[in-house]
Amino acid sequence: MSEVMAPQAPPGGWLARYEAVVGSGTLRALEALARRLKGHRVVMVNTTKTGGGVAEILHRVVVILNELGVPTTWEVMEGDDRFFGVTKRMHNALHGHVEPLTEEDKAVFRERTRIEADRLALDGDLIFIHDPQPAGLIEYRRQPGQKWMWRCHIDLSRRDETYWEFLRPLVAQYDTAIFSHIGFVPPLDLPTYLVPPSIDPFAEKNREMDEAEVDGMMDTLGLSERGPWVTQISRFDRIKDPLGVLEAYRLVRKRRAAARLLLAGGGASDDPEGAEVLAEVRERAKGVPGVTVLELPSGSDREINALQRASTVVLQKSLREGFALTVSEALWKRRAVVASAVGGIPLQVLHERTGLLVHSIEGTALQTIRLLDNPDLRRELGSEGREHVRDNFLHTREVRDYLAAFAALL
């Protein structure tokens, strides 16, 4: 079976829960958009039903679309190790790493795509393909009257042109392409829309937590000392600049000795470079008092939720970014955020309104000190940040954009 069974909805459905967060007017607007699609069927296709942001989004979005009366199914393209070996290299290459692409790789990609095209139930009116791995299905399965959309969740701004030249003729056959951010869009000769990603306020990572639960989790993680905590939660990767965060913290610590730094994240267990960065961070942190470096296993959603809520200041001092939804997660929890003005961050952090944007280590230190000293400013930014996320970065907004894109296409 390739079709994913959507998870069970809570009593009354997900829409009823969302109504309490976004209001009845927003739900009425979604229902109105959904009515435009009456009689049409949507099929979502990706390559995994668990793990990763795309599967997380689909689990919720598919249920919401069905609750709105738009029949939506979700198909998962399968593959063997050879196929996923090629698509993993493709993923890395599209992110900017140099990877070889052989004729054999192309043949493996085409052959698996052809097999899956025969197997998958792609009989809706709107076929919504997520990411490059299943992009070739259109070549084998497009039926008259169908509309095909390609939703690219990754940043193509530093793409390896060899891989893109292989993929582009496939993408060119689609009726519409969707990207998360304008900076990620390659030159394409088809209608292209911008739909930022979004977070789920009811997910384990974002759900409400009371103080006792947060304190309990901090104790469990061995972080019983009370802050103020300055935190960056990101995988251990050079582009997240954990060493820059340490430098900024050194400057903060000279002037605000009570501040503590927490660098938490994953990515070290399955990535040799991540392990190297983590080791370097640990080594550098040895000489700096007040620093905790925490390696989080995948699936630490509850821990991340508690760590963000326990933080006085949340940092995202990246040198480069994709969309960086961790910023929206922190803003949703009304945290004061200091973040670099790169990638999708300036869409989430409106300087001096929903957080503070910085461009340097010194700027990070200066704005962190400012926030540590000013609880009123933290409250104001946190409160505006939450409203900004409510308006722009919850799943209901992403569903609205998809419905509008479907409506524009039909």
């Binding site: 009845s24 009425r28 958009l33 304008i182 911008l194 300087h351 309104r353 409203e387 509008a404 409506a407």
Partner: protein, 248 residues
């Protein structure tokens, strides 16, 4: 008697406009060439993008000039040029260009890094009916709290700007003989507030106007009818106070 007012909502699909800016000079050139839907997205649509904000953020051009180019004076001028969402796009464009013209030539050429380039976006409107309609201005005011931010934005700001008089709420109110209510809507829009605040304040202003209008209508009614209405009003007030007391 005009046709009922049919409420709609709007979703805006954003797409690349194919223009970018890396300095004040290139920003001026791009604003000159940008399609109306791009000026609409970056300036006029700000209230719809931040409906629950405490006050309205500056438009995208002003924010970019302030944060990426670090040119506060030009940023202030651009913010002011785009502060009234009811202003026609052509006027907004001219005001933005005039604001940029005032920047000394030596300051206009400073470039930002590749990562901080401003890429222009445009917005395409997808309108859908909400399946609710009002026959009288009083009904429209009664329905007002039920609308989403997209609907409020479309009927008060976007429809008049695009010349869609058939879906402009102010135009319909005027055609219904409710010129005062229409004027109130136009004045509140020109204040340039976030949509939720605009909706709240306009709703309160409309309700106050309606009370005055009802009193004026009733003034000419026979004594017995006025007594009956007064008794009913007091009974409703007493019921409301009783219910509020219970919930407290």
């Amino acid at each position: 008697m005009t046709a009922p007012f049919r409420f709609e909502t709007v979703a805006h699909l954003e797409s690349p406009a194919g223009l970018s800016a890396s300095s004040l000079d290139s920003l001026r050139e791009a604003i000159e060439r940008a399609p109306d839907d791009s000026i609409f997205q970056h300036v006029t649509r700000i209230p719809a993008r931040h409906p629950h904000a405490r006050d309205l953020p500056a438009n995208d051009f002003a924010r970019w000039v302030g944060t990426a180019l670090q040119a506060p004076e030009a940023a202030e001028r651009l913010a002011f040029a785009g502060a009234d969402p009811s202003r026609p796009i052509a006027e907004v464009r001219a005001a933005l260009l005039a604001a940029l013209e005032r920047v000394p030539a030596r300051d206009r050429r400073r470039e930002v890094s590749e990562d901080a380039i401003l890429r222009f976006v445009q917005a395409r409107s997808v309108r859908v009916p909400l399946d609710i309609e009002a026959v009288t201005p009083a009904e429209a005011i009664g329905l007002w709290p039920q609308l989403d931010a997209g609907s409020v934005f479309y009927h008060l700001i976007e429809a008049p700007l695009r010349g869609n008089t058939g879906t402009s709420l102010a135009a319909w109110l005027r055609a219904q003989g409710a010129g005062g209510l229409a004027r109130a809507a136009e004045e509140e829009v020109a204040e340039g507030r976030p949509l939720e605040r605009l909706r709240r304040e306009l709703g309160a202003r409309w309700r106050r106007s309606l009370i005055g209008r009802r009193i004026a209508e009733k003034a000419g009614a026979p004594e017995a009818e006025r007594r009956r209405d007064a008794t009913a009003t007091i009974a409703r007030l007493a019921e409301r106070l009783r219910t509020e007391g219970e919930t407290r």
